[in-house]
């Protein structure tokens, strides 16, 4: 069941569009913000609210990089692997995360603390390599600095 708060936020989002489905992406992100990911049940609840089929909504949910249809960790590290970051050594940073936390791209640590995902250019190219943990962006990252950064996220 959508909570009252969720429902209120969805009602607000819908106001920006001439029809309810216009808010489909907003709706997925609003609900995901509290629940972490979009389960089948959640998908169905949102679809009912938007008055579209669950299959239709799933075609949207599975298309966008920031909508998660599988559980993720308490924190998500988005590793920019686009060209400016690649030139400046993003692979070495990612290797270091792998060594430190035993987690590869697309995986979650066994304690459910951290999911590591690749992401398209974060637009921080002047301070590459960059990564984003949850909503915080870090630039000029090095394999030496990465542990200190990740340790802020328990």
């Amino acid at each position: 069941m959508l909570s009252d708060t969720e429902r209120r936020e969805l009602e607000d989002a819908v106001k920006h569009y001439p029809d309810k489905r216009g808010a489909a992406i907003d709706a997925l992100l609003i609900v995901q913000r509290r629940r972490g990911w979009i389960s089948d049940d959640t998908l169905l609840e949102i679809a009912q609210f938007l008055e579209i089929t669950a299959e239709d909504l799933d075609s949207i949910a599975t298309f966008y990089n920031l909508v998660f249809r599988k559980p993720v960790g308490r924190h998500v590290a988005f590793m920019c692997d686009s060209i400016s970051c690649w030139i400046k050594g993003c692979e070495q940073v990612q290797e270091r995360i792998k060594t430190l936390y035993d987690v590869d791209l697309g995986q979650t640590t066994s304690d459910g603390r951290l999911t590591v995902l690749p992401i398209a250019c974060l637009g921080q190219c002047e301070r590459a390599p960059a990564l984003m943990i949850d909503q915080d962006v870090y630039g000029d990252v090095t394999p030496e600095k990465i542990e200190e950064i990740v340790e802020k996220y328990k």
Binding site: G22, I25, L29, W86, A120, C125
Partner: protein, 433 residues
């Protein structure tokens, strides 16, 4: 040297408040509207200024607007959309503007909306730009409170502005895919024609414009087209936000006259190559542009001076290739990006791009033969414009075909030496597409 777009942006990264913005002349253009400047006058000023789209296409803004039906019989509502889906690798200029000066975008949107008589605007922002989202939301709320949005006094014009935070897909930068995304659908491009200017968002006339383009509008309205042309060193009007990333001494961004050369950017502003590495080439503006090499460095970086057989300006935020970086590995990184971000709608793109990435991997892993080189060349023809539904795959071929031209010997060396002479770590070579 004037820098109308960025001169007031705080160097410490904090945002400009509404008070600061207004004190320095912000929202003054709305007074001109209240004083009787008609939509057609705004269109004329912008056409005379020669403003060209800053998202990479370089299309004339005045011409784009001229396709929108106007007058009492025109369809209602009409929409204006800011394309703030800045996901082009190597490109970070719109972020600088939105974080540093969010009210500039709000004012630009009001003016563009007024010019085409659109009553609703959307800022289509990529989901990863959380700081931009926060600052734009605040700016929109402040602009409503101050009466600039809604019903600006004395203008007789109603304009509402919404922020749409997307959920991350490169293809949303394509204007018809963006329109589908705004309608809450998969961001798959639409067939053109009809063009969005007549049949766009929810079937209504719609203009989609890059963020930096919109930031230019208040200055053109306030200072006129002659002034705007004087900012530039080329036949295209205005300044441009240029950027440099890669192994240079001082990566960054600078607002400079359009027509500044690549050499000036590289040497004077970016401080030359980083210690110990040498210049080999650059992509002038995002990864859908052709490589330029030493021989092209004195070309003015604008929309008119780069010959089509050399390439195009794109977003003007350049990525530099140095001699310690493998050009084949560089292009492999680009093609993996394109393969991952293909929307999958048309077969040549969906199947062709992963294939290209696999062939390039075989070079890096020492499995490539001269047949693979021919196969890569054939792909640049198979995925050329006209063979695919939209411009994504043809764009992906631009760096590949130019790399095959300028770095041919490096491709050959991968074959003859049975691997990558630069032998970077193996992680790059795994195919994740």
């Amino acid at each position: 040297m004037e820098r109308p777009l960025t001169q007031h942006i705080h160097p410490d990264g904090t945002t400009r408040t509404l008070r600061e913005y207004v004190k320095d002349g912000g929202y003054r253009s709305l007074q001109r509207i209240a004083a009787g400047l008609a939509p057609k006058d705004v269109q004329r000023l912008v056409t005379e200024a020669g403003l060209r789209g800053r998202g990479g296409g370089g299309f004339l803004t005045g011409t784009k607007w001229s396709f929108v039906p106007m007058g009492p019989d025109a369809p209602k509502p009409k929409y204006i959309v800011a394309n703030a889906d800045e996901m082009e690798p190597g490109t970070f200029k719109d972020r600088v503007l939105m974080e540093g000066d969010p009210h500039g975008l709000v004012e630009g949107m009001i003016l563009a909306g007024y010019a085409i008589d659109a009553e609703i605007g959307y800022i289509f922002l990529r989901g990863e730009y959380h700081l931009s989202a926060q600052r734009l939301r605040q700016a929109i709320a402040e602009a409503y409170e101050a009466g600039y949005l809604g019903q600006p006094p004395g203008t007789g014009f109603r304009f509402d502005l919404h922020l749409h935070a997307s959920a991350g897909r490169y293809i949303c930068g394509e204007e018809t895919a963006l329109i589908n995304a705004l309608e809450g659908k998969r961001a798959v491009p639409r067939a053109k024609p009809p063009f969005p200017q007549t049949v766009g968002l929810w079937g209504q006339p719609t203009i989609v414009q890059n963020v930096e383009t919109l930031y230019n509008l208040p200055h053109i309205i306030n200072h006129g087209s002659d002034w705007y042309h004087r900012l530039s060193r080329s036949q295209d009007g205005g300044t441009k936000i240029y950027g440099v990333s890669g192994r240079v001494t001082n990566p960054g961004w600078w607002e400079l006259p359009l027509g500044t050369t690549a050499r000036e950017l590289l040497e004077r502003y970016a401080g030359g190559m980083a210690e110990g590495v040498r210049f080999r080439g650059l992509l002038p503006g995002g990864i859908s542009t052709e490589f330029m090499t030493e021989e092209h460095l004195d070309l003015p970086m604008d929309f008119s001076s780069i010959p089509p057989e050399v390439g195009r300006l794109g977003t003007a935020t350049m990525i530099v290739l140095d001699d310690h970086t493998c050009p084949v590995g560089f292009v492999l990184n680009l093609e993996k990006f394109f393969a991952r971000e293909s929307c999958g709608w048309c077969t040549p793109c969906r199947e062709g791009l992963p294939w290209v990435a696999r062939i390039l991997s075989s070079f890096e892993e020492g499995r490539a033969t001269s047949d693979d080189l021919s196969l890569l060349k054939m792909h640049t023809k198979w995925l050329a414009p006209g063979h695919t539904f939209c411009g994504l795959a043809p764009g992906a071929m631009a760096p590949l075909q130019s790399a095959l031209k300028y770095f041919h010997d490096d491709f050959e060396r991968h074959i003859s030496s049975g691997g990558c002479p630069w032998s970077r770590k193996s992680a790059q070579h795994r195919i994740l597409v």
